[in-house]
Symmetry: C2
Subunit: 357 residues, 2 copies
Amino acid sequence: MTTARSRASLLWAAESFVRQFAQEDPGARDPDERVREIAASVAAFGTYTHTSEELTYGARIAWRNSARCIGRLYWQSLIVRDLRDLTHPDDIAYECFEHLRMATNGGKIRPVISIFAPDRPNRPAARLLNEQLVRYADDPRSARHTALLQEMGWKGGHGRFEVLPLMVQVAPHRPPECYELPEDAVWEVPLVHPHHPGFAALALRWHAVPAVSDMTLEIGGIHYPAAPFNGWYMGTEIGSRNLADADRYDLLPVVAQLFGLDARDERTLWRDRALVELNLAVLHSFERVGVTIADHHTESRRFLSHIQREERHGRKVPADWSWIVPPLSSGSTAVFHRYYDPPDPLATPAFRHRPMP
Amino acid sequence: MTTARSRASLLWAAESFVRQFAQEDPGARDPDERVREIAASVAAFGTYTHTSEELTYGARIAWRNSARCIGRLYWQSLIVRDLRDLTHPDDIAYECFEHLRMATNGGKIRPVISIFAPDRPNRPAARLLNEQLVRYADDPRSARHTALLQEMGWKGGHGRFEVLPLMVQVAPHRPPECYELPEDAVWEVPLVHPHHPGFAALALRWHAVPAVSDMTLEIGGIHYPAAPFNGWYMGTEIGSRNLADADRYDLLPVVAQLFGLDARDERTLWRDRALVELNLAVLHSFERVGVTIADHHTESRRFLSHIQREERHGRKVPADWSWIVPPLSSGSTAVFHRYYDPPDPLATPAFRHRPMP
Ligand code: HEM
Ligand code: HEM
């Protein structure tokens, strides 16, 4: 059952989306007519269906609206895969793997989003339980997921950098269906250091494509809970956070030892130096095998170009300073030395976090 | 002339300060009695005078309230110099130099504040035009001050790291009186690098005491425009900002060259590496000559202790994330991985910026 109130708020959200689309894109349909059509659908079924143009536009604007994302310069180039007719978990898993192949693109990473069926009144859609399409079982960040999988009988998760199976949950309170990722869908980069041959012996690696899979895409009042999206990596995500954070792989002490740094005294700046070595290894290793990656200085400048370009179109660029500013040498990146329009939590279309089930 | 309205708001501010003091300090005077006394003074003169206990408490709380300051763990140890009877610029300058000597303390830096006469109704007090008691003429940040001094006939400002004279302005629209800082009041640290002997040839140096001199201290509705205060340096202020920022000394390219880094390609992380070398030189050089300085990892942990301690006293610690989190290796400092209570722009006592004259 949908209430009169939820229908009214859905209509309101739909109308404001349709009008925004028409305003930004002269090729869009007559908004009055489209609003009438949506109203009829909502009256009859409690919901409505986006045209594929609306879906594409909506997903791109959701990216443009992501206040935490430094990579928004290329929002218009997002490849939108319309997979709304898929609801069977086998199909969803299959297309997630296809997503990874398409995004990987032989190393020349492309931003892609795959949009599966939306929630319908009293019929929530399938969702992916994984935080990202590719996550490692021994990453402390995956502890709950790894434990869940093992409870369900997964035999893996004892080695290093083992990729978690994909968990597709077709309905709330149902156990997820699990799928091992095919090898050819997951490109990985072995980490080596340009000047220290011993680095390779640490046997570190990371995957090529960061694809967030647990956020809900909201467009015009419609919720797409299964809508994994990816960009390319900015090196610091791997070198300064995933591999370095004390509650992630916590590798600074290991790297410090390899480079002979004195880790007993903070004032040797051993942490800072180990970070530089680790980040250098990440950038160098991706580049060496031909996988797109951005350094934080370049990506910072691109973000400022993005702001300039958006402002020429009369649009603000809300941004979350503490997420935008890179975690390495922040004071020396182009994005540090200014404030931004504050994030607008009501802006839509949007990607939204949901509580972990 | 003071208006009824400005008197009412002064009284309101005074009363809330007096009550806060009484609540926090059982040794404080009976607040009801003190409020009546202040009311009588405001009725007669349009203002009132803090007791020296109120002044000390007020200055310390202003520090504790500074949402941008990572160094607040030691707020109770602030040395408060009561110099409210001084109004002649010669005396003010003399006591600013004494401040520096007392703060320097043979290298064992002590946090000190010197509080000169407050603004009175229709009689604004003297103020210092300098941003800090010690600033260099060739620091691009001082460009306006250097130009102003030269217009007024100052012959200096052509060398490197020349200390700007102190500018004491006794009344608005009056030209400031200028005073050269005595050599023994300004300790400076020549910068050397622990492993690279060539670093010393860059002939860099920095002064020992950061003493902010252009903020107004506000306590219970009374404004003290001349109230310079200092802590000790956190290394990144010098190594990652003052010497590194492109609009300050912009030394990363110079350091990169010294260390043979390839500055044509961002992906060599030459900026990040040069930053580490510069910061290491700063910490090492201060330590070598026995001048207190904090590294950003240690100061970050102290700030978290501060929060814990304040919470045990039932107090929040408003903090400005983008100022608190250090500009070097931010992701690997203890303060990065959380949010803080938002700054409260109405909190008093407080240090406030004022528009540059
Ligand atoms: C094209 C290259 C891209 C780069 C370099 C990039 C970079 C980043 C970075 C560094 C973060 C912060 C991550 C963190 O600290 O955990 C971020 C967050 C985010 N990005 Fe991007 N991004 C890219 C593409 C995309 C795309 C294609 C989308 C969506 C279509 C997107 C949406 C987001 C969102 C929603 C967040 C916030 C995630 C959260 O709240 O956990 N980004 N991005
Ligand atoms: C004891 C050692 C201290 C340390 C290590 C310290 C550290 C810092 C740092 C790193 C900043 C940011 C500076 C910037 O990025 O420009 C800051 C800001 C600030 N600190 Fe402290 N501080 C100390 C003592 C004090 C004292 C004694 C006071 C006042 C009594 C104070 C009041 C402030 C204020 C008001 C700001 C903000 C300045 C502005 O808005 O420009 N600090 N502090």
